[in-house]
């Protein structure tokens, strides 16, 4: 039975203001949450979502405004107090202990013990109870490190629930999940809703808002731009509330003379356990999407073209020449660029300046017998910073870590334009990138593909990305290529069906 949203208010935040270093980032925001309600919190990066929920979790203290929980009004929450009031946050980065069992993780910090002696049976019992009430089928004796990422997230939720959480804040919980895992998560969230737990669900993905939430609150530049019941919200309305304008649709072309010659021809490419018998071509100026769910093999296919899986079999022809790279060095030498999905771990040099981040693969071109000056990379940075609309201080020495995710991604893209790449392999290029920067990136890709005659191979698990930017799409499922559409034939429901 669903509890009406207007009843039984769990939490009311009123007129929350917060400044950092003299800049106000929340200008008096309200937020309500009822028992058994899922509130989707939408907004671009920098809109203030994280600041707002961190105030609720007690990580930040608000400059003014109050948070009312139950009967009491608080103006000075701290992490301990928030926990005691039943507020828990599930972060994107898991905070579990991979070398301990599921049961130990669920009891972490609140062990069932007698005079310091841990009772394993009670601990297991408690874990079983928490898991079964949420309908999660995981053996409590397994080591958490051996679980899949989605399962680990469910264990974290079970831990919060067994610790009597009443309000759960989920920060982009599906960012790293496959669609099967996402479905599983939604089942658990629905079970929690039945038990009266209130949830604040932060996401970038509009389709999830419709599936899981009861109400949507959109933040833009630190104010609430829209609060609406999900049933009554249209997609266009949500996007407009987030970015304050329309997303311009990008020009597609399915006329063949729009594109140049074939620059990449792949035939019968296979990689053990990941994909087999893949064949496609890529023309200059064309954006070809490889669409598939996580685990479909699309990502590994992109990596193989960049020389990351030299053991692959089949034939790749680059400008009609057979091309078999043994390492990324060979691929870069053949003017292939590569944008990895994990920006933090594989893409950016976080503690290094932006100009260096942009210029590294172009060093061989800049250098004269191994000697190099910073001048060239500073000029390159200022050039691309303007062209790609990188929002920064325009200081080549600024550390890339101080840019927002979307702007970091633009720097990493500019890296390959600067290096004159002719084929660009992009893996999930807009994962964790806010809507505004995403729009810029799509425009850039289209512009560069055409102006510089670059062929772009884009692997993605986001169908919106395909419809937004691709000229052609090869759909992959379980390592096989299952369909291909081009130009106006591409639509969301068709490719989703083909991929499942």
């Amino acid at each position: 039975m669903r509890i009406p949203a207007s009843d039984l208010v769990l939490l009311t935040a009123s007129a929350i203001r917060k400044s950092f270093g003299g800049v106000e980032v929340l200008h008096g925001v309200d937020l309500h949450l009822a028992r058994g309600e899922i509130l989707a919190l939408l907004g671009e990066n920098g809109a203030g979502k994280s600041t707002l929920v961190k105030i609720l979790a007690g990580d930040y203290s608000a400059d003014s405004g109050t948070v009312r929980i139950g009967e009491t009004e608080y103006s000075d929450l701290n992490p301990r107090k928030s926990r005691a009031l039943g507020i828990r946050m599930i972060f994107q980065e898991l905070s579990d202990a991979p070398l301990l069992t599921v049961a130990e993780n669920i009891s972490m910090g609140t062990w069932s013990s007698k005079r310091g002696i841990v009772s394993w049976s009670k601990m297991r019992e408690r874990a079983n109870f928490a898991l079964s009430t949420l309908g999660i089928d995981i053996d409590p004796d397994r080591l958490v490190g051996t679980l899949r990422i989605g399962e680990r997230q469910l264990v974290e939720i079970a831990r919060a629930i067994s610790d009597n959480a009443k309000i759960l804040i989920l920060d982009e919980p599906t960012a790293a999940l496959s669609s099967a895992e996402t479905d599983k998560l939604f089942l658990v969230l629905n079970a929690l809703r039945e038990r009266g737990v209130g949830m604040i669900y932060i996401t970038h993905r509009l389709d999830e808002v419709g599936i899981i939430s009861d109400r949507v609150q959109v933040l833009r530049d630190g104010t609430q731009s829209l609060v609406v019941e999900t049933k009554k919200a249209s997609r266009v309305e949500l996007v407009r509330a987030m970015i304050g304008g329309e997303i311009a649709s990008l020009p597609h072309s399915d006329s063949d003379d729009y594109f140049g010659d074939t620059i990449l021809a792949v035939s019968e490419l296979s990689l053990d356990k990941f994909f087999s018998d893949i064949s496609f071509t890529l023309r200059a100026g064309e954006i070809l999407a490889l669409y598939g769910k996580i685990g479909s093999g699309a990502e590994e296919l992109g990596e193989a073209i960049f020389g990351l899986h030299p053991e692959r079999t089949g034939i790749v022809k680059l400008n009609t020449q057979t091309f078999k790279p043994k390492s990324p060095i060979d691929a870069i030498g053949a003017f292939i660029g590569f944008l990895p999905a994990d920006r933090q771990r594989l893409g950016a040099f976080m503690i290094r300046p932006v100009a260096e981040n942009l210029a590294v693969p172009s060093w061989p071109r800049y250098s004269v017998k191994g000697f190099i000056t910073k001048k060239k990379e500073e000029i390159a940075y200022l050039h691309w910073s303007e062209l790609l609309k990188i929002r920064s201080r325009n200081d080549p020495d600024q550390l890339i870590a101080t840019l927002s995710g979307g702007n970091q991604q633009k720097v990493l893209l500019g890296r390959w334009f600067e290096c004159n790449a002719k084929v660009l392999v992009l893996i999930e290029p807009t994962r964790g990138v806010d809507v505004g920067a995403r729009r810029d990136i799509y425009h850039t890709l289209r512009q560069r593909a055409k102006d510089n005659n670059i062929g772009i191979l884009l692997t993605t698990s986001d169908h919106e990305e395909v419809t937004q930017v691709a000229d052609r799409v090869v759909v992959m499922s379980r390592g096989k290529q299952v369909a291909e559409y081009k130009g106006k034939e591409i639509n969301n429901s068709q490719i989703i069906q083909a991929a499942s």
Binding site: F349, R352, E356, P361, I372, S392, R415
Partner: protein
């Protein structure tokens, strides 16, 4: 989140670009404070001959600290430098006595290259962590120093003129070599793709691979440079004592790392400068020298150096924590 990013942008704006400036400024201030204090406490401190003493005392550690800084920037460490200096010193001594000075020095440097190659190949090909590898070669080379020299100090009378020579500006040869290596190091780190790629490798080795950096080759070269530096250090130590001792340079790696870390290089790689390391060396040199001039028991030098190391690493940690907040 942008809110945080804008906030840190503002913070950074107040500071001025090039975040290494404030760190080095703090070091310069600390060095000057030491100099001012010691110059009041001892009338000999500011004398030219005393400064030559200070430079001379840090020159051996300094020659090792330049490639050491390059390694630490690439998130690598060479602990074998002290033992390697002793071993190459003994090799130099034995061959100088048997085949002459030129050939002796040549064999010592060749041995330095071999030591660097062994360290570098184990680390880049077999991919054993550099701390473990060089901890192993540290023990091996110390043992070999005793074995090859028969457990005895090798007297090398022919080398005395090198140890006493002051060919330029009345500076000892060791100081001149140290200065030359410093300049070379600064130029390499600033103006070569090799030097620049060390920063990139230290900052993120996985990302470095994906932008086409030849990480194994670069690291291997770095260890070879470190090996050559140990040979130079070994020859200089031998010339200063006119004897090669198997106990020479015992624990020197710790003073070297102290100076590097004090100079602002991060233990996690990606940060550091040669000029910072030089400042770190000068601070240690001035401190040791001042304590001697004040007639403080030499045991206190060790206490001071140890304290300095902990302060240096605390600095490093605090900076890292800043870094986390900024991102």
């Amino acid at each position: 989140m942008k809110s945080k990013a804008t906030q840190s942008n503002l913070k950074a704006k107040e500071k001025k670009p090039g975040r290494s400036v404030p760190e080095l400024a703090a070091l310069v201030l600390f060095l000057f404070a030491l100099i001012i204090y010691f110059s009041f406490a001892s009338e000999y401190f500011l004398g030219v001959e005393n400064w030559i003493n200070i430079l001379s005392a840090v020159s051996v550690a300094g020659i090792l600290a330049v490639p050491g800084t390059m390694l630490l920037i690439a998130a690598q460490v060479d602990l074998s430098i002290g033992s390697a200096a002793a071993f190459t010193g003994i090799i130099a001594g034995l061959f100088i006595n048997s085949s002459g000075v030129g050939l002796g020095i040549f064999y010592a440097i060749l041995m330095g290259v071999v030591i660097g190659l062994v360290n570098g190949i184990v680390i880049t090909k077999i991919q054993v962590n550099s701390l473990i590898t060089t901890l192993g070669t540290l023990a091996i080379l110390r043992g070999l120093s005793y074995i090859v020299g028969g457990g005895q100090t090798v007297m090398v009378p022919n080398l005395s003129y090198l140890g006493l020579a002051r060919p330029f500006l009345n500076l000892p040869l060791s100081v001149i070599i140290f200065g030359f290596i410093c300049i070379l190091g600064i130029l390499i780190m600033r103006y070569t793709t090799f030097g620049r790629s060390l920063y990139v490798i230290g900052a993120n080795p996985s990302a470095a691979r994906l932008v086409g950096i030849r990480t194994p080759k670069v690291i291997l070269i770095c260890f070879v440079l470190s090996g050559v530096a140990t040979a130079l250090a070994g020859v200089i130590l031998t010339s200063q004592l006119t004897a090669a001792s198997p106990m020479a340079a015992n624990g020197l790696e710790l003073s070297v790392i102290t100076a590097i870390v004090l100079g602002g290089a991060s233990l996690n790689g990606g940060r550091g400068t040669i000029s910072g390391t030089i400042l770190g060396l000068l601070i240690i040199g001035v401190l040791n020298n001042g304590l001697v001039l004040l007639n403080i028991d030499t045991f206190w030098q060790q206490v001071a150096r140890g304290t300095l190391l902990i302060i240096a690493v605390s600095f490093d940690q605090l900076r890292e924590r800043w870094g986390v907040k900024r991102s």
